[in-house]
């Protein structure tokens, strides 16, 4: 019986360490260090040709433009 409780305790302890660890990148506190801050802004990316080209390199043409020669 004692062995059962010991094994159970060893299995549960790691779960306490993982509690709340869901890869949170929201604007909340982490260990008292204030909000998660990146250097990325909407304007910053959308006004940088290099950043846009890097991000959209694989997308090519976003949407097929129909051939409107007829119709």
């Amino acid at each position: 019986m004692r062995q059962f409780w010991t094994i159970s305790l060893l299995l549960v302890v790691p779960l306490f360490f993982l509690w709340g660890c869901d890869n949170d990148t929201s604007n909340g506190d982490i260990e008292g260090e204030g909000p998660v801050v990146t250097d990325l802004t909407c304007i910053g990316c959308h006004s940088s040709r290099d950043m846009l080209e890097d991000s959209l390199a694989d997308m090519g043409v976003v949407m097929r433009v129909p051939n409107k020669d007829d119709g």
């Binding site: 909000p35 304007i43 959308h46 959209l56 976003v62 433009v65 007829d70």
Partner: protein, 465 residues
């Protein structure tokens, strides 16, 4: 139109990399004027996470609204702070009257096309099982505030305009949409082609040659809807009362005659001994209302004087594209994809089929691409297909003062050009022969159009007197 690269579509700086013009504008986050209560951040219109809280493109675009001007959902960014009574789009709160009119416009709702389908299917569009398929295949051609005033229309892939293929609009808000980037992006295959003289053998529109663009004739009031059908809605663009009319500008030249003006036909006089008509009457003589100079001599009148009223384009437009046999609107394939026969460039005059322009007897008509099986892929049949002409009243945007119709031998009237036109596909009159295919079989829409063709030339002699 030339496609934009993916990065160009969402690039908000100008060609020098500067965002200042947009940032300090009334729609920009650095605006310091008093025209609005507060400056607008990106998120206030587009929703999405706050700056500096995202680490990559995917995170940055969670919950983002691509087109905040789209009804029913475009106001989400605003609702973060405003109450639920905020309008349907991000534009509504500041542009209330325009947005309200536009909500009822054909540009927004495509009611004209829907009405045409309803006429032929003899059914109601609303709630129909195929309405979703319509939205996926045809509905992509509607537009929003933003697709005219901020970006290119979605129907051509969206993205911010690139004026002249060089200058980026940099997320600018343009009070007047750009003719190439916005208007003819959608209205390109016919209107744009005509206006720019892109068809072989067809000249540019005289208004275009004189530097005019779409807004020279089409006002915002017209394009947004003029409120005449508030509570109901338009079913055809010719119902919009503020639609441009030639005589708005050319009234002094035309002096439209709805009576029996002699000089309508007899520009240079009558008979073997022509009477010289004063020069001031020659210009648009066939429309001159004051025929007193004729009745001065012809006191007893002239027999068979029952002149017809012609739409201006009958004399002053050129050949244009006509479309046939639109089909393969397979609902689950990519939007905007369809098959259609190659267009045919023709110029055809017919009896006026339009209930919206009853003042004309004879008008220019264009063939529309609907076919009895156009909507087969939706399970939609058209029992009323033959009840509605498929040659429709049209307004080609390739106007010229002097055209082949107005070019005649010395001493002859304009009528000699038209009435001498051959009975063939190249002829200017829509004849019964145009309703047969090359093998001599009646076309599927024969019965729909036989009522508007011009009579056989052998049984309708030209009155040259």
């Amino acid at each position: 139109m030339p496609e934009l690269e993916a990065w160009e579509r969402v690039y908000i700086a100008n060609s020098n990399g500067s965002t200042a013009a947009f940032m300090t504008s009334v729609h920009g986050p650095d605006y310091e004027g008093s025209a609005i209560e507060h400056a607008l951040t990106c998120q206030m219109c587009h929703n999405g996470p706050a700056d500096n809280t995202f680490a990559d493109m995917t995170e940055a675009h969670e919950g983002v609204i691509l087109d905040p001007s789209a009804p029913n959902g475009g106001q989400v960014g605003c609702l973060q702070c405003h109450d639920s009574e905020f309008g349907e789009t991000a534009c509504d709160n500041c542009h209330e009257s325009i947005a309200a009119a536009n909500a009822n416009s054909l540009h927004t709702n495509l009611w004209g096309e829907k009405a045409a389908i309803e006429l032929r299917c003899e059914c109601d569009f609303e709630g129909a099982s195929w309405s979703d398929m319509y939205d996926n295949k045809c509905g992509g051609c509607h537009t929003t505030c933003g697709q005219c005033h901020v970006s290119r229309p979605n129907s051509v892939g969206g993205g911010f305009p690139k004026f002249g293929g060089i200058v980026y609009s940099a997320h600018g808000f343009n009070r007047t949409p750009d003719m190439t980037e916005n208007c003819t992006a959608c209205h390109g295959s016919r209107i744009g082609t005509d206006f720019n003289g892109d068809l072989e053998g067809v000249s540019r529109d005289v208004h275009r040659n004189n530097g005019m663009k779409c807004e020279g004739c089409h006002t915002g009031t017209e394009l947004h809807g003029d409120g005449q059908h508030e509570g109901d809605h338009y079913t055809h663009r010719y119902q919009v009362a503020t639609m441009p009319r030639c005589e708005t500008c050319h009234d002094a030249d035309i002096q439209v005659d709805t009576g029996t003006g002699c000089t309508r036909c007899h520009i240079n006089g009558v008979g073997e001994d022509p009477v010289e008509v004063p020069a001031e009457l020659v210009n648009h003589a066939h429309h001159i209302a004051d025929n007193s100079s004729c009745s001065h001599c012809h006191r007893d009148g002239v027999p068979s004087m029952t002149p017809a009223n012609l739409q201006c384009q009958v004399c002053h437009s050129q050949p244009y594209k006509n479309c046939t046999n639109c089909h393969n609107l397979v609902a689950d394939e990519e939007p905007n994809k369809y098959d259609i026969d190659p267009s045919v460039v023709q110029f055809k005059i017919a009896q006026n089929p339009s209930p919206h322009r009853p003042e004309y007897d004879y008008v220019v008509v264009r063939h529309v691409p609907v076919d009895p099986g156009t909507y087969d892929d939706w399970g939609l049949t058209l029992p009323g297909y033959l009840d509605e002409p498929t040659w429709k009243y049209t307004s080609p945007h390739n106007i010229l003062r002097i055209t082949p119709q107005t070019t005649v031998a010395d001493g002859a009237t304009c009528a000699t050009a038209c009435h001498g036109t051959p009975d063939s596909p190249e002829g200017w009159f829509l004849r019964e022969s145009d309703l047969y295919d090359g093998s001599g079989s009646r076309l599927p829409d024969y019965e729909a159009n036989i009522g508007i063709v011009l009579p056989d030339p052998d049984v309708a002699p030209v009155n040259e007197n």
